[in-house]
Subunit: 411 residues, 2 copies
């Protein structure tokens, strides 16, 4: 089969522990495809396309173990961006510029690995290509620790973050119980509007370990009085060391975020408020109300970039979905995002399919209300059954001098 | 050989990822020792002795895999305390009470696993025993992530925390570099007076990865002007994403802690100030001065209890030092702490010996000034050479449902 043209792959949005596994999957499949010539990586996503900042993966892949090491390296190897493309009608010149680059580099395939906002880019690029009749296959490869993309059973990155969170909450639960006194630990977990990662803390429990005792998600309304009553009720029941996990996006009935008391009020380029400080703010409040020391712990970036402790299921699927994206493009698909479909619960089994990007971009998937208990302070067994398979298996890591060996792009 | 009497083992001070490996070592050696009858665990350290709260390890060890699982379980299985024994002259009745329990339970061996403050307990108990001619062997088994005990080459717990910190700083370094803009990340690491753990972040570097770029230890004087100048100098040199690690105990020239602006001013029962918030306070200051977003990350408890990612060297040594403590007691030793002696640099090799507790208790070992660079913002290769062997090797973990399997004491 003759070479049809070259391809670009880019990464966008916040990094995850497995976004490079998807990149590795795209690159290895693209390098193997007879229809594809050069395999370019766009540095910093669509911004790199506009600036013609490319790396040549045919060259990089010549290094021994490059793709294997890339597969287990966290964060975005190519760099990422939060650039939001304008509406086509509003600023056509932006698209003209992008497609001029596509023409110059003979790009016939464009793969974009990202979350909600990145799928908006995929949607617009593929729509514009159709408008101007430019022959290109544009495919979105999902990625987000937040697990909030529509249509797909789950997102690459979620399982690894969930596994890290489960282990860490279990460990903090043990650590917080060593003194012979009542304690409260408040652990802040990522999730602006969807509580999937916070809910994943429930996977820390087993028949011996009860932490986390309380789980507060953005899908329900947060209340200071409620959490205080919940903690007191646990103390009354004889629980001595309460661990509560709270989403960074926890909100009061009036719509204010819990963290807003100290928040900077800053917004990112998509207009999202910068959230963090929920654990600190809440810890101080609880401490003064309950009259005991309350420890606030923010898992921060560590939860999304912990390459040293990823889910083998997640890494394997993330690589597969990258490869499947290339197969879809080679098959003529465009304007689509690859998705996971759970074809069997027990044993857990997924299939990878594709869906029209317009049904996905800019939407958000929340935890169904029936997976949250009535009191709004825990998840149900249905959630556990859903999430458990996604954290199974441990990825083998190559160590160098006692630290995981990762690759980094020389920019 | 006839049974001479029973033994008690206790844990004290802050938990670590390997304090239970030492406990497992003490327990397995004590169970195997013909001179030792019952092997009691004191719940919550010396407080448990006074309250006669004991567990019987002969019973617990009947569970399959109990000692093996205990060995890799983080935090203090027996629970711990921060109880400071009074001076013997001041409150003799406290010691009379303790020794009444010793007599009642026929205790001839007492093992106490802990840090600086716990070694004070070992010193006082052994001194009182000599005063009243009570036949008992009292041995301190070292433990502290802080690595600040005198006489010993390093402390059990340090290597695992250092390994976790190195991997996490490397991962945050990758994560912080994904956007095409200048960023500063400030990572707060444990260490009140001694900067060993913060210094361990230097182990994150390799020939590709430069983070952490700046290291501030409590052994040197912290200055806002200095860190700002250091960051600007890096920006001028073309470093785009600066990662600075700062000890929670970083102090200004006037003796104030960096975190004191928001600290609660609370002190623990040993009179130590509660520190935390350094990353947040500093992050805000830097952000307003530099005019860019600065992310403050506090590794918090996670760095000391990360059982999912421990140093095999550390776990192995921690178990060995527990066993060696029992051997020392059986050999007639008392009033001693076990120590590591580095007998060879290359290949790394240690011997386990003992030292009189009075030369150790209440002292603190700082990083030697010559292991810190002249500018006071980095460590030297000598520190790296010292610390590297301590993080080598990965401990095999048994997983259950995707999360490390740990044991917990039913209290």
């Amino acid at each position: 089969m003759a070479v049809r043209g070259n391809c670009i792959v880019g990464q966008s949005g916040g990094p995850t522990a497995v976004i490079n596994a998807s990149l590795s999957g795209v690159v290895s499949a693209a390098l193997a495809a007879e229809q594809i010539g050069k395999v370019y990586g766009a540095v910093h996503g669509i911004e790199g396309v506009m600036k013609k900042q490319f790396v040549d993966f045919s060259e990089l892949a010549k290094q021994a173990d490059f793709l294997e090491t890339l597969k287990v390296t966290p964060a975005s190897f190519l760099g990422t961006c939060r650039f939001k493309l304008p509406k086509i009608e509003d600023k056509k010149e932006v698209f003209e510029a992008i497609f001029k680059v596509f023409e110059e580099y003979d790009i016939k395939f464009f793969f974009y690995i990202g979350g909600n906002d990145s799928m908006d880019t995929v949607a617009k690029i593929s729509r514009y290509a159709k408008m101007i009749n430019y022959d290109i296959n544009v495919i979105g490869v999902p990625k987000t620790v937040d697990n909030d993309l529509l249509c797909t059973d789950h997102t690459p990155g979620f399982g690894s973050a969930a596994k890290y969170i489960a282990a860490t909450v279990r460990e903090v639960g043990l650590d917080s119980a060593v003194y012979d006194k009542q304690t409260v630990s408040v652990i802040e977990i990522m999730g602006r509007n969807a509580g999937w990662l916070t809910a994943a803390a429930a996977l820390a429990r087993d028949e011996h370990l009860a932490a986390p005792h309380l789980i507060y998600l953005p899908e329900t309304t947060f209340s200071d009085d409620k959490i205080i009553a919940d903690i007191k009720a646990l103390f009354d029941k004889g629980v001595k060391n309460v661990v509560a996990v709270v989403s960074e996006g926890a909100k009061y009935a009036d719509g204010r975020y819990v963290c807003e008391d100290v928040g900077t009020g800053a917004t990112d380029s998509f207009g999202h408020k910068q959230l963090s400080g929920t654990a600190a703010v809440l810890g101080n409040k609880l401490s003064s109300t309950l009259g005991i020391r309350v420890r606030g712990i923010e898992l921060s970036l560590c939860q999304r970039c912990a390459g040293h402790f990823t889910s083998l299921t997640d890494v394997t699927e993330a690589e597969m979905v990258g490869k499947a994206g290339v197969a879809e493009a080679l098959n003529g698909g465009t304007g689509k995002m690859m998705i996971y479909v759970r074809v069997s619960e027990n044993p857990y089994k997924i299939a990878i399919e594709s869906r029209d990007i317009d049904t996905i971009a800019n939407g958000e998937k929340m935890i169904p209300r029936e997976w949250i208990n009535e009191a709004g302070n825990d998840v149900t067994q249905d959630f556990i059954n859903y999430a458990r398979p996604l954290i199974m298996g441990e990825t083998p890591i190559v160590y160098k001098d006692g630290v995981p060996n990762y690759v980094k792009l020389k920019k």
